[in-house]
Amino acid sequence: MRAPVNDLPVRFERVSLRAGGMTILDRIDAVIEPGAPTLIVGPNGAGKSSFLRLCMGLSTPTDGRITWGGRTDAKPARRAFVFQRPVMLRRTAGGNIAYSLKQAGVPREQRAERVARLLEQVGLSDLGERPARRLSGGEQQRLALARALAREPDLLLLDEPTASLDPAATRSVEEIVRAAASSGIKVVMASHDLGQVRRLAGKVMFLVRGALREHVAADAFLNNPSTPEAEAFVRGDLVV
């Protein structure tokens, strides 16, 4: 069952991540609080995915400390993650959601109804019996969202969920994300699409080469960025 705790705020205290002599993230200080979606932007290799994995507890920092609602234990009880290329379990679409519900501790007799509701929420009602691996890329991404929402998370982490989708599929994913955010789930999403930042972001974290250069309201980031890199990024110049 749902633990009577909250995973928010997520607090990064001088968190660094190094691997094989490379610094992936460098002394990050940040607090992620409830509210409108936070979009993590920055060029490829800036450390966006690594930041999200740390947020989820999938990797541990080399230095520094991360706390979830004040706790240091990394068990992802109230968090959910949607990977850039989500892996579908070798089951039906509905079976994938049911599996997630089971892991979240939802009793068996409630699962069928919840599966139906989640399928509807992501617009896959007709495809519940279809093998998940036979779905299109956009459908798989929506199913991954349903699987994540099945956990009833406080914090939903998304790693460029629309990176390989066409505009129509992107729109439906964004609509689901927006609905999740307005239902009170804190969304943290990596993106390198400035348009997506305009459409979704409440706050923006701007990463360059492992350093957090800005962590501000989306308006401030878009209209008056305070670092030259951010200014270049918003202008559409190539930032490396």
């Binding site: 993650f81 989500p86 892996v87 093998p131 699987r147």
Partner: protein
């Protein structure tokens, strides 16, 4: 040609000796697969999901033992079970039980090595998602075994094929006793050397037909399940 005809008559006429031999062979090999699966599947899963010093050595040995010579396995089990051996007191040498044990040992590495590979590949694919869903160790094993069930079935069939077709191990530990420990393969060897080719040929045909039927069934299950679950 005449011998082929006689062989066919033995099969079509439902020759009782022939069918008793077929039945014994299948029973022994099925029990051997069941025992090897009970040990080999969990062992494969354990090897796939754990890291310990010497793991690579275990994997190399297991892979190498997939090709164990049946006569050597037969000899080892013979030494174990013979009157003066460590398990001699049970008096099971030259019984079907001894043959089941020998075949189970023969195919255990096949089942364990193939399932280790299958489960490890699937785990590489599933690791992030299952970790993100907070699935514990027991849940992981259950999920991986279930989602890999088709490939694991293939591993079991590979084991069954090997068990049903080998002759060296059952010959040594079973003793090829008429009506008691005589299997298809040992009968074929014996009858051929005696010049009774119709029975040998008939059994050979049955053996091949069985292997074909089992693989056809497995293929059907596979195609059907892929359609169901992708």
């Amino acid at each position: 040609m005449q011998q082929g005809l006689n062989a066919w008559q033995l099969i079509a006429g439902g020759d009782p000796t022939l069918f008793a031999i077929v039945q014994l062979s299948l029973t022994i090999s099925l029990f051997a697969v069941a025992i090897a699966a009970m040990i080999g599947l969990p062992l494969g899963a354990l090897l796939a999901l754990t890291h310990f010093p010497g793991r690579n050595v275990v994997i190399v040995v297991l892979n190498a033992f997939m090709g164990l010579p049946p006569v050597v396995v037969g000899l080892a089990v013979y030494l174990l079970l013979s009157r003066s051996g460590p398990l001699g007191q049970f008096g099971i040498l030259f019984t079907p039980l001894a043959m089941v044990i020998a075949q189970a040992i023969l195919i255990l590495p096949i089942i364990a090595a193939l399932s280790r590979q299958t489960i490890e590949d699937l785990w590489t694919e599933y690791r992030d998602e299952l970790t993100a869903m907070d699935v514990g160790p027991a849940g992981r094993v259950a999920t991986l075994l279930w989602d890999a069930r088709l490939s694991l079935l293939t591993a079991l069939l590979a084991g069954f094929g090997r068990a049903a077709a080998e002759v060296g191990a059952v010959m040594i530990v079973g003793g090829n006793i008429d009506g008691f420990t005589r299997t298809m393969t040992t009968t074929i060897a014996l009858e051929t050397s005696k010049g009774n080719l119709p029975l040998a040929l008939g059994l050979g045909l049955v053996l091949i037909a069985l292997v074909l039927a089992i693989n056809a069934a497995a293929w059907t299950v596979r195609v059907w399940s892929e359609r169901q679950a992708g």
